[in-house]
């Protein structure tokens, strides 16, 4: 049975799920959800994801939402194949969870606000709040400083192998490096962050996703 992933292939959170499924070589089908027309807020979608967000998955009888829950589920279910996305021990897994939480709470909100103000609102013809964007950028600089320190002691965020902790950063950093112009320096000016980005973004699973998304 093929996993159905609901969400656009170009949206950040669905990309986290797709990257995980590709790493674990799990077959999936993408069911497009049209965010521009607000499909995610329509009654039929709210039955699937009551907060009106993407992604959601359907795998036989199993239905889940929240990308970081979905990737943890599949990483555990297919622990025995592909890369050890949850580490090799319970203690390693907790460090993976720690950095996924860091991404969720210290990184994601700043990134999201920046993109909303600098890219999405202008695209919709509305002025972005530049002062807010600048403040987010400054905070992100501090977060990246911590990452730089961490990655100077550790090849990947949770240790010496690629895990969910690194994977959850891929969609947002891809965005920073390409669409959200002028912010690539956050990565490129930091030696270890830059090397880490090079390593994780050249993985074949990620490259497959980039092809699927037609970038």
């Amino acid at each position: 049975m093929v996993v159905k992933v609901y969400g656009p292939v170009r949206a950040a959170c669905p990309q986290g799920v797709l990257a995980c499924l590709l790493e674990k070589d799990v077959e999936f089908e993408i069911v497009h959800v049209d965010l521009d027309s607000g499909e995610q807020k329509k009654p039929h979608f709210l039955l699937r994801q009551p907060f009106g967000q993407v992604p959601a998955i359907e795998d036989g009888d199993l239905k889940l939402f929240e990308s970081r829950a979905i990737i943890r589920y599949y990483a555990a279910k297919y622990e025995d194949r592909g890369p050890k996305l949850l580490g090799k021990s319970l203690e390693e897994r907790a460090v993976v969870d720690q950095w996924v939480e860091v991404e969720a709470h210290n990184f994601n909100d700043l990134f999201y606000t920046l993109v909303l103000q600098l890219v999405i609102l202008p695209r919709m013809g509305q002025p972005g709040d530049l002062a807010l964007a600048r403040s987010c950028e400054q905070k992100l600089e501090k977060v990246f400083d911590i990452y730089e320190q961490r990655l100077s002691n550790s090849t990947y965020l949770a240790g010496d192998s690629f895990t969910l902790a690194d994977l959850t950063h891929l969609p947002a950093i891809r965005y920073l490096m390409t669409d959200a112009g002028g912010l690539a320096h956050l990565v490129t000016q930091r030696k270890h962050v830059n090397a880490w980005w090079q390593a994780i973004s050249t993985r074949s699973a990620w490259k497959k996703l980039m092809n699927l998304a037609n970038y």
């Binding site: 907060f51 979905i70 589920y73 555990a76 907790a94 939480e101």
Partner: protein, 215 residues
Amino acid sequence: MVVKVYGPVYGSPKRVLVCLIEKEVEFETVPIDLLKGEHKDPDYLKLQPFGTVPVTEDGDYILYESRAIIRYYAEKYKSQGADLLGKTIEERGQVENWLEVEAHSYNPPIHTLTVQILLFSKLGFTSDQNLIKESEEKLSKVLDVYEERLSKSKYLAGDFFSLADLSHLPFTHYLVGPMGKEDMIRSRKHVSAWWDDISSRPSWQKVFQLYPPVF
């Protein structure tokens, strides 16, 4: 060697304390005074570079982010105390789903309310009434989704108490207690029953007694 939990009087560390008591794990606590800025001391930042509480120190093994810590101890001590992660990988998937909901949809508005209403008055700052109103509206919408969910499911992840429910305890206590917004819970029949159930668990009662909240 007994695990040490930093910052026991605050909200997020209380998730860890409840979890450890549910799992019958001994612990010690280390006070951190946020109002004195102790979380920004260089020694603390060595443990938690983002300068937030909690941190746990288990011999040499250090973890931060409360939801990473509770996942670790719930799994490590799976066979003792309440099983907070469900019995199967699929049940755990549901726990992860609703724990992520708490982290991304429930916590942000309730945390803002805690800061604006409780912390600011303690510090003598002026609250942002618009932000309070906005946060209340967001939280109301989330509680509406919970009401629907809990009308079909005794607990958030299924018919068992889990980390997903536990995670709500500290800040919901602030809401119904010192913030005086109990009506947000009581006006929703199933949310109200769920709150009574989870907040009367001996583990929460004990945490409440041992470490009275700062607000």
